[in-house]
């Protein structure tokens, strides 16, 4: 792998060739390998389960491969499977390993050093995606062809928020690396930009913001079922009647309660993979709710989830003297 | 029929009696508060009703008092979930909601003149009791009646007084069994399907009706097949999670059939036409 800055296209082709070669070697001992194939139109990739050598040809790799495929792993316990994962996805694997929800020896991980994936909602806001005829990538842009013509948009303007401040482009755990590793290219400072946007609002504006955004939530639980750490989705507290946390009504009250419940159940665990916001069919910006907790936990305990499997999550432990916690005096 | 205007609206009834059948099963005798409705309440043996505990919800139970005795409606309830838990806390005088009768019923017309072989397990005795009492009230319409009834232990057998009566009757045969040996138990020991194989009742001119936990049903159906019973001769009832009880909410389907309106009573022949999703 030479380090000459090759065009995005060439790099993607090289990475894909690397992936296919690794799978050809590994597929024998695996139930399947989970990757991406082209979806229902050139703008949408879709998770794809490679079961035979013939399937390998359908694999793709480009900035449209947005899904965090590790959310399938907890339900596949007991079967040896291959998984292709980006840097951010690998943090989910580390977190799942740390919590004992998957076994390392049941995984063949093909890691991809990733330069960023798109945010479909951002693209949909700028392009009429009802009829996509072709999508291609140039050095720094995505070109989308529709019956109304060809539109070229700088990639940075439609990248997912998590990618704009990506600190872990190269997977933290892998068996094969499908490209040259490289370190963070993006400013860490932008990590909590969206959170700060909300923090600037006063309390009444925040209340109004969440009321407006969550009003269109349809309680379909795509955000929960897409989350790699929501392993108890079949017996979820949100639908429990004992304890009866909240009703089945579709009022804003219940929708806010669910978002808080999901965020709190991810406190000190969420690896900022963005699946919750990406999966939402109503494009509701909910990732910043989980990211707010990540920000507080980083400040309080200097801790980031999904980095080192040996770590103990901060809320699983304590210090007798907590340097960063100042209790209220009366 | 249930409230024709709004099939979702339960009628209020008062519990006049609570019988502790077994540590996990209670029978409730309910009278509808609206006397007119109570007198005109008609149903067929095997039909079900949705019992409401307001605040907990509704659950489906067979009306296991026979249509020939309409002083009250009886429901036998095994403690399993939230609604049954609350039902088990009910005492005489408490109010419940009743929505019914719903679903189909045992095809007793086609069973006339035939020998009837009941095979019940645990709470599965509830639907069989309705039909048995109905047949005993129209005894001459039917041939020989046998009841093979089993449970985990002697104290898990429901309707203890009636079991004594049925044992004393000369126009029906009662065979009781429990899963394993118990000190004061002098009758048969063994799982219902195995006892059935030992008894090996001939299929000639017989209808076999079986209700009980899924595991018992599976092996009982196998045993009946081995004994030569044709699919049309075997009748059972199915359990499903139910909400609306009137074929609209979509959840109790097996293929094209809804257990709440096309069942819960099915012949094995009908079941075999459905996709295997029991």
């Amino acid at each position: 792998m030479d380090h000459v800055a090759r065009s995005v296209k060439e790099q993607a082709v090289a990475v894909l060739a690397n992936i296919k070669e690794a799978i050809t070697r590994e597929l024998e001992g695996l139930a399947f390998v989970i990757g991406w194939e082209e979806g229902y139109d050139p703008l949408h990739a879709a998770p794809f389960f490679v079961r035979s050598l013939a399937d390998i040809e359908r694999l793709i790799w480009n900035p449209l491969c947005v899904h965090n495929l590790t959310s399938y792993l907890p339900k596949l316990k007991g079967r040896k499977v291959g998984i292709i994962c980006k840097g951010c996805d690998s943090r989910s694997i580390v977190q799942l390993l740390q919590e004992g929800l998957i076994k390392r020896e049941e995984l063949v991980i093909i890691g991809i050093p990733c330069r960023g994936v798109v945010d479909m909602a951002r693209i949909k806001a700028r392009v009429d995606c009802s009829q996509i005829t072709d999508v291609s990538f140039t050095e720094k842009a995505i070109a989308i062809k529709t019956p109304d013509g060809r539109q070229e948009i700088p990639l940075d303007e439609v990248l997912a928020t998590k990618c704009l401040s990506c600190q872990y482009p190269t997977p933290l755990v892998y068996d094969h690396l499908a490209g040259a590793a490289f370190s963070a290219q993006r400013p860490a400072a932008a990590l909590y930009a969206e959170v700060e946007e909300i923090e600037k609002l006063d309390l009444k504006e925040r209340l109004a913001h969440w009321e407006k955004e969550l009003d269109r939530c349809i309680r379909c639980y795509a955000c929960r079922n897409a989350c790699p750490l929501c392993v108890c989705q079949d017996q979820c507290a949100a639908e429990s009647r004992n304890p009866h946390w909240f009703s089945q009504r579709t009022g804003v009250n219940e929708k806010v309660m669910w978002q808080i419940m999901h965020a709190l159940h991810l406190a000190g665990r969420c690896t900022d993979c963005g699946e919750c916001e990406r999966a939402c069919p109503m494009d509701i910006p909910i990732q910043r709710i989980r990211r707010k907790l990540n920000k507080e936990i980083k400040e309080l305990f200097e801790y980031e989830a999904g980095i080192n499997p040996e770590d103990t999550p901060p809320l699983y432990t304590f210090k007798v003297e907590e340097p960063t916690i100042k209790e209220k005096e009366w | 029929m249930a409230n024709a205007i709004n099939a979702f609206l339960p009628e209020i009834g008062t519990i006049i009696k609570v019988i502790d059948e077994t540590p996990t099963i209670k029978s409730l005798q309910v009278v509808l508060d609206d006397q007119g409705r109570m007198r005109s309440f008609r149903f067929e043996p095997g039909q079900v009703a949705q019992l409401s505990i307001f605040g907990a919800g509704e659950a489906t139970f067979v009306i296991n008092s026979p249509p020939t005795r309409v002083e009250y409606l009886q429901f036998s309830v095994m403690k399993a979930g939230e609604v049954t838990e609350r039902i088990h806390q009910c005492k005489e005088g408490d109010l419940v909601g009743v929505r019914g009768p719903l679903g189909n019923w045992f095809p007793y017309e086609d069973m006339k003149g035939k020998d009837i072989y009941f095979i019940g397990g645990g709470i599965g005795m509830a639907p069989l009791r309705t039909l048995l009492l109905f047949m005993l009230d129209n005894r001459k319409d039917y041939g020989a009646i046998t009841l093979l009834y089993g449970a985990r232990s002697p104290q898990d057998l429901c309707y203890q007084e009636e079991l004594k009566e049925w044992e004393a009757r000369d126009d029906m045969e009662l065979i009781l069994t429990v899963d394993r040996e118990f000190p004061a138990w002098d009758k048969r020991v063994g799982l219902v399907p195995n006892v059935l194989k030992e008894l090996a009742p001939s299929p000639k001119g017989k209808i076999a009706i079986t209700c009980g936990p899924p595991i018992m049903i599976r092996f009982t159906l196998q045993a009946l097949a081995e004994l030569g019973y044709k699919d049309e001769q075997v009748i059972t009832t199915l359990e499903r999670r139910m909400k609306c009880g009137i074929g609209l909410c979509g959840r109790c389907n097996i293929g094209t059939r809804y257990v709440c309106v096309d069942g819960p009573v099915f012949s094995l022949a009908q079941l075999k036409k459905l996709p295997p999703e029991l």
Binding site: H67, A226, E275 | I53, G57
Partner: protein
Amino acid sequence: MVSLKVLFLAEEKIPVLLKRLSKTSQVFAPVQVSDTVVVFQEFSNGAQVVFDKQASMPPKGVIFPQTEQFLSYTYAKDPENLTRSTVQLDHQVEAKPTLLFGARPCDVQGLAVFDAVFTQGQWQDPSVKARTDATTIVTLLCVKPEGTCFCTSVGGSPTATEGADLALTPVSGGYVAEAITEKGKTMLQDEAFTPAKDKQVKEAERVRAAVKKQDTLPLKQIEQKLIKLFSTEFWEQMSAPCISCGACTYVCPACYCFNITDEPAGMGGERIRTWDSCMFYQYTLEASGHNPRPTKAERYRNRIGHKFSYHPTNYKGQFGCSGCGRCIKACPVSLDIRQVLREATTHG
């Protein structure tokens, strides 16, 4: 198309028309609620009504709201005998006159599935029936089907008007409005409608004829093929990427499954109906813990089986799907129901 009356509705007259009508009835129209999401919402002044894009949600909430009260109950202590309590039930089915403005033919076809299930069957649903009767539907014919549309494969068409009271065909400067039913005719009496010029009627016909034909799915005998595939690995493979959430069912114009729950509050409470999804694990989970559809493969088999085999078998060939493609667009993993149906017809 035999139409009772043909008039013209100018683009700029629509907000005025909707405002006037919302004095006498609840008016639902496709409203832009965020950069990318359009939903059917009660029209209010200043709402940005959007007609050139398929709404993210179907209009089924107009006759089948996601949350609806069946009854409220109140316990009270019986004054004479304090150990006894009384319970008082209260319920009312009320349906205000409603206007659904701007639903597309696939949305209206979805409402036809509700009609078949909730009002034509052995058991009727009073609230859905009341709302259906109280609703006037103005359908907006679809001149620009999307890449995910397949209405022609399931008995529909971008220019279908069955189930609508008034049909609008987009022409330059506005819409040619044709009444389909008496309700549509009375609506045309509103002053916003002006006589349509021949040029406009011709343009409307040209627009309707010019709608691009979609490639139709091979759904012959799909009902039997799906049954034949029942106990095969087909469903495990097809549902492998599925995350078993409720998105596809909640955005579907033809999905009508619901849940009934009691929501207690102190001495009283209410029994409510809310949308439910066959893709949720708890949908068929029994109190005993047994679940006839424990994995997503069985649930997905039932979802496709219901729409393309069980429902058509029970309802004279009517598919439980109107081909709007929302389930494809809303699916977090872009599962394409058309691809599953194509594979079923080849494997079946």
